[in-house]
């Protein structure tokens, strides 16, 4: 039973539910930029101090925070890298009852969609 993932209500999700080291499990690439660091990323570490993007051939660091807008019924992430700022809508967050496992779906304004798993 502890392995079951439950949908988290995105209108009330605490920010720390989104923090942590996420493994990119699945993505739908946007044709516009399939070679971008984000499109190649294997891990995304949303740490308390910084953001770290890990891809096979590079590592990028930056900062991140959780944003909310009254027009949206769910939060979005603002990811600040030295070269660009990205925004990603949280379309789904699922986690086990004890929080040991989570699954996060992000939709970037570029059209890129990702499913991230933790651990």
């Amino acid at each position: 039973m502890s392995d079951l993932l439950f949908d988290v209500n995105l209108q009330q999700v605490p920010d720390d539910y989104l923090a942590g080291t996420w493994r990119i499990a699945h993505r739908v690439l946007n044709r516009a930029d399939p070679a971008s660091p984000l499109a190649q990323a294997t891990n995304l570490d949303l740490g308390s101090q910084q953001l770290v993007l890990e891809a096979p051939s590079l590592t990028e660091t930056g900062s991140w925070d959780v944003q909310r807008d009254e027009l949206l019924n769910r939060p979005y992430l603002r990811l600040n890298f030295p070269s660009e700022e990205l925004r990603a809508l949280v379309t789904r967050l699922r986690r086990t009852a004890d929080g040991a496992r989570s699954q996060l779906n992000l939709y970037f304004s570029s059209g890129l969609e990702m499913q991230l798993d933790r651990p």
Binding site: M1, D69, L71, L72, N73, R74, Y76, R87, L89, T91, R92, Y107, S109
Partner: protein, 294 residues
């Protein structure tokens, strides 16, 4: 005088006994305490084709039985002879045409003043039609049970007040419980606590109404996981229109519900994505406006 009366009364009683014994529809027989036949009525002779003289011999009657019934009949009759217990058995006797019919064999001993058995009086009642009807009914029940146990749904039958007295095999396979644990209101064991109250409230109203009803709720499987089931209940009425039982099925609709949920989520996601992308544009417009306003 009395001796003359008794002497003249005995043949009359014997005649009356023979008349009665030949008149009644049963085959009638009498044996001595050892089981040796001393009398068969005319119906026995007409049915088997054997007279008393033909039927002499310890195994004669047994040889007229269906081969599958002979050992059992010998054992049961032997038990009665040994203990004096009443004799009762169902078996097949062969007619003179060579066909077997089912009979109910019954016998009771007559004892003397000392309590010793002096005679066994027995009858064989033709129960062939009832037996064949019962066999056909049992066959139909077996066919129904096979059908019910192998259908895709869980199914059940309940009394008019909702007391469930039968489930099919799929129900037991799915829930992991047996009839003893499930009979009556045992089904509450496999209901999700969050839905129990609403289900109980619903059926409390539905049972007395006696009309078909449907309800969807989760049921816990033997693996501890809950799945969603669409439950349909159909009332069965007798010729007078009285409700005699309920027939119910539980159809697993978990995957259908998941697909509906996924479809709804996809729709909600699409709306959110469009809003999100428009939000980006709105932020861009606001930024441009701020730059122009400088």
């Amino acid at each position: 005088m009395s001796a003359d009366s008794s002497t003249s009364a005995a043949p009359a009683q014997e005649n009356e006994f023979n008349f009665l014994a030949d008149f009644i529809p049963q085959l009638v027989w009498i044996t001595d305490p050892t089981g040796f036949h001393t009398y068969f009525n005319q119906r026995w002779i007409d049915y088997t084709g054997y007279t008393l003289a033909d039927s002499v011999g310890a195994e004669m009657w047994n040889n007229l039985l269906h081969p599958d019934d002979q050992a059992r009949a010998r054992q049961v009759w032997g038990h009665s002879l040994a203990t004096g217990d009443d004799y009762r058995i169902e078996y097949r006797f062969k007619s003179k045409e060579g066909e077997y019919r089912w009979f109910l064999g019954e016998a009771r001993p007559k004892r003397n003043d000392d309590g010793h058995i002096v005679t066994w009086f027995g009858t064989c009642t033709d129960i062939d039609e009832q037996r064949r009807a019962a066999d056909q009914l049992a066959e139909r029940e077996a066919e129904f049970a096979t059908l019910a146990d192998n259908m895709a749904q869980l199914s059940w039958m309940a009394r008019p007040d909702g007391h469930i007295y039968w489930y099919n095999k799929r129900w037991y396979d799915y829930t992991g419980y047996d009839l003893a644990e499930m009979e009556g209101w045992g089904w509450e064991k496999v209901h999700h606590p969050d839905y129990m109250e609403s289900v109980v409230n619903f059926v409390t109203v539905a049972w007395p109404k006696g009309e078909p009803w449907e309800l969807t709720f989760p049921l816990r499987g033997a693996d501890g996981q809950y799945r969603w089931f669409l439950t349909r209940a159909i009332p069965v009425h007798d010729e007078q229109g009285h409700l005699v039982r309920w027939l119910g099925t539980n159809t697993d609709v978990t995957e259908m519900r998941q697909l509906q949920e996924q479809l709804q989520n996809a729709y909600n996601d699409l709306e959110a994505k469009v809003t999100f992308r428009n939000l980006e544009l709105e932020h861009e417009v606001q930024r441009l406006r701020r730059e122009l306003g400088k």
